[in-house]
Assembly symmetry: C2
Homo-oligomer: 239 residues x 2
């Protein structure tokens, strides 16, 4: 048991003894690699859940904001700082944590997996394919599923998928990303038409390298133009 785990255990015991509700953040860290959506998990802290995988999380300090706590978890555990992060939901069932009453705020984080080199000695951390995960510690499977559904919806309405890709990407990569997040196959021509018609992809004049076929153009997402864009507010009622 690490020092970190010991300290956590002590704090949780105190919370329980004093009848106090603890607050934590849990990060669902998505990455995209080998054309698959992956999630970064760690071997569970607690004995109760030995051999189960768990999200990265920690208790919130009294003096830090919630998203600061989430950033702290990301930075301390993955070393990454420039990360897309958004609050998704809250999980606060009375019995969700065996050691004490802990209400947790679930964050969805998207990282460019290329930039994140796992230290090789950090063999408690692993990237898992979505769909290859059945059981997890605590209610973390439920949290993961919620965040995945949130991402599926969100990625269709906001340009956050680009956070999972390198700055410069081919349209094929972009399409693979959408297909793997949504779990569907899309028509290549219509997909291109759709994205080009938005006018938010910027031609870099560069091409893929070292591919065993005709290289594709590389694009950047034009955040500046997106920010200025006038957005329609009425999408149409449809249940």
């Amino acid at each position: 048991m690490t020092a970190r785990q010991k300290k956590l255990k002590t704090i949780l015991k105190e919370l329980k003894d004093d009848g106090i509700i603890g607050i934590s953040v849990d990060c669902v860290i998505f990455g995209f690699d080998e054309n698959e959506l992956k999630v970064l998990l760690i071997k569970s802290d607690l004995e109760n859940f030995e051999d189960r995988w768990s999200l990265l999380g920690d208790l919130v300090n009294n003096h830090e904001n919630l998203n600061q706590a989430a950033y702290r978890v990301l930075k301390d555990r993955t070393g990454m700082t420039d990360v897309y992060l958004e609050e998704v939901s809250v999980f606060g069932e009375v019995g969700r944590h065996p050691a004490a009453r802990v209400v947790t705020i679930a964050y969805c984080s998207l990282i460019n997996i290329q930039h994140h080199k796992l230290k090789s000695n950090d063999n408690e951390l692993h990237w898992h394919r979505i769909g290859s995960i059945s059981q997890m510690a605590f209610d973390h499977k439920k949290i993961l599923d919620t965040c995945h559904e949130w991402l599926q919806k969100r990625v269709q309405e906001h340009p956050l998928g680009f956070s999972l890709l390198p700055k410069k990407f081919s349209l094929r990569e972009l399409q693979n990303l959408y297909e793997s997040i949504l779990g569907v196959k899309l028509d290549r021509r219509n997909f291109r038409k759709k994205f080009f018609s938005m006018g938010l992809l910027q031609d870099t004049k560069e091409y893929e390298l070292d591919v065993p076929h005709r290289p594709g153009k590389l694009y950047k997402f034009n955040y500046e133009k997106y920010r200025k864009k006038e957005r329609k507010t009425w999408f149409g009622i449809d249940f």
Copy 2:
């Protein structure tokens, strides 16, 4: 100062002294009356915010789930039990509450205002028109705005607007509801077409009474049919 307020003040003081983060729920209670979307507010509990309006909320007890806490607030303060309630977001900035660090879970509740007769002696509670509210206590204006935006989006994708209407309603009432939530004018014929084509409105064979014009048909929303309906998962990418 009421007994309730005194007790709250004591607890908050304890939290602060012990350096503990408190957890509360705050309910944004929407109603629909006189063809306008309204929100139920109360005069603020705290001296700091005298004469400002505040959402209905309370600290979460150690032994109750978060939505149970939200239901409790609704029941204790409005007397209503059969209420639509959904978690929207979390607000946990360090300085958001002057008396202590309190993280609050914001709930959106929709009630049929007809069923809720405010006790006349309860003159601290008032229905406010959305848009007539400028300043509020704490960060409650931000919470209100967040919930309103959430409702605008949600009501277009899920059939929750009906919770604001009587069981039986005319299409005009339904359209007024959507118009007031979204702040837009809609074409009457297209609106009808849209809803009828969903096939979820059930003709009650009844008509409006006591209206000074041709009475409209009354409909019920068919939740059962909605539940069974197969929903498409792919809405199309659009930023």
